[in-house]
Subunit: 196 residues, 4 copies
DNA sequence: TCATAAGCGAGACGGTACGTCGTGTCTTACG
DNA sequence: CGTAAGACACGACGTACCGTCTCGCTTATGA
């Protein structure tokens, strides 16, 4: 019933990918603590031992499912103009995070438990986006749209950060208008400030 | 041992406040799922029935403790200048959210469970901050610092939203410098744009 | 609704009698451990404190209700013939125990708990019957129906004991035929043995 | 520490037998309502789930422990003479019931609760003894000691019934002399009547 | 006639056991 | 050998009940 589609470029075997897909689906349906490992095993017609052999805790299973679910999401828009790049990026983030808000909330619980999860979150989720944004900004600097000083080490993530905040912590999923306003009224003024 | 301090203006009785305080402390010490209702009852020398009579599930208990813990945190700085108001507000938010990141993560799980939690989160947590920020902006409009159009219905929460994102979703708790940069390089340019 | 009838010669006040009557009824309806003191209080529109003021534990309440319920049951038949006395007594016991089997079972639990309950059971329940039976036998000796040696200190209670056993431990409540057979085929042969 | 002895011919697995043995011991030590399922689980190093998987309530657990405890007690004396058979049987019953009086009282409470317990009591406890006694009487008929009519459907259980009554409902545990008197002065006269 | 006290109904409370359920480990049997 | 099936120990959850306690209200008495 459940084929191993979408497993390309995955570090997981087809069977493992199937388990993660089942996990992800149940996660989105029921939330983190209504998800039971027994349910995953039953749905995938797998033994609990099979699951626990690969992911020693429920937390790691859920985290792996989350990472696998978001692995393909970061694509560089590269439209040729900073504003358009930011708009496209914002739309992508908003769309993706909107469907995975529940999963992200689930993963956050694990971050409180061990710093290790925080580090994994950093590496496997945020760093991808950081590199992408800095690539966009670097191109804008090269085109002379903004000053090089606008690329900071600290505040690179206001765009994704705010959008994620909106989806995950409040119910108000960001609309297209939200993304436009954010780019035009908040981000662009700060980035182009001083570059006339 | 534990007096009923800080219960002013609370919807809870002193005894209930005490239970919530115990819950909050154990929550910060052990995290959400290492917190047991039995431990709360034992620490507060209360019966489990007493706790469950008010908050029918562990989730609601934790949520109430979180709301009670953040109820006193929203204070209006009112320094007389918009930039200083934003800086002080940002510092307050960063400090408070920094200590309660784990609790917020715990509460978020419940948001996935029922829309009711989302609504409670909205009313009891976010609306407080929204009113506060719009008060600050209204004063700035009155002083002529910014245009009235800068007060939007949608993007009022970039400051708290980003700071909360930083503490809760990434490990990088915002520093003083982060708050300063955020206010000076992101928020103020957008707010004062066109009102030179 | 519930008047204080049947409280004559009772050591209890009318109100107390009412509480015991409610207890007895609920006891017969639901059995010992499905009976809750709260239910007694609610049914009698009384406060739990009122109940506990008189009977410090549920066990004592139930025991008092049992004793009150069986207080009027021991009546001397005195028909003029041993066999008829025994038959009538057996019928009485069978009828009374048949309706109170559940209550007796309930009281038995308390006997296991403290020897005090055993003693109270002895005094307030069994001794009454012992005196009655020995009165019957003494009359039979006086009439020359049986030898004086037939009155023993140990085995006086075969008639009530077996009938109680039948009702309380097995489901087979003794019928009229059972009582007749018991008197004619078991008791009378043993009593009249040797007295031709 | 606790081997699986005495589990022969048992409907229970060795592990289940162990659980019942622990239950029976704790039952005799503390009585029914001072016995906790948690204590059984802890003593047997078992999970509560393991216990509840087999016996859905504490009552059923205790009943099963009682039945298992009395399963081996019914042995046919077969001495060759009716009087000796009855004496030996009476002694056995008196000894066994004497040690298990508290357990029987505990089990009786459950009989009031559901008719199902009454049926189980009948099948698993009383029917064993009935078959045994009728075997004894049948042999006596074959030997010509008593008339065939002495075997009745109704009153077969005077011997065990009275002895159980003595142990369970009164404090007066039957002595050897009690058993002798019961056999010689009550049972034998009734059984041998007319077969002189 | 009014005040002060004693008893009662109502019900919250601390404690504790019950019965349920989920995690992570382990064993058995199959392919 | 790896896997499906599922029993198991551990422990938390949420419920129910016992016996204690406080709070008002009513009633019964003394100035």
């Amino acid at each position: 019933m459940r084929s191993a589609d979408g497993c390309t470029d995955s570090p997981w075997s087809p069977r493992e990918c199937e388990l993660l897909a089942v996990t992800l689906q149940l996660l989105q349906e029921h939330g983190y603590d209504r998800l039971t490992v027994d349910a995953v095993a039953a749905t995938a017609r797998a033994s609990k031992a099979t699951i626990y052999r690969r992911w020693p805790t429920k937390a790691e299973l859920v985290f792996a499912a989350f990472v696998e679910g978001t692995r393909q999401a970061a694509v560089d828009p590269d439209t040729g103009a900073l504003r358009d790049d930011l708009l496209r990026l914002g739309e992508n983030i908003a769309a993706h995070v909107g469907t995975h808000a529940g999963t992200i909330r689930a993963v956050l619980v694990e971050m409180s438990r061990s710093a290790e999860f925080g580090a994994m979150m950093q590496e496997q989720f945020l760093d991808q986006r950081k590199a992408l944004i800095q690539r966009i900004l670097t191109r804008a600097v090269a085109r002379g749209e903004i000053a090089a000083a606008a690329i900071t080490e600290d505040l690179w993530d206001v765009l994704p950060g705010y959008l994620i905040f909106r989806s995950v912590l409040t119910g108000r999923s960001p609309s297209h208008q939200t993304v436009h306003d954010l780019v035009d009224n908040v981000l662009m003024p700060g980035l182009t400030r001083g570059s006339t």
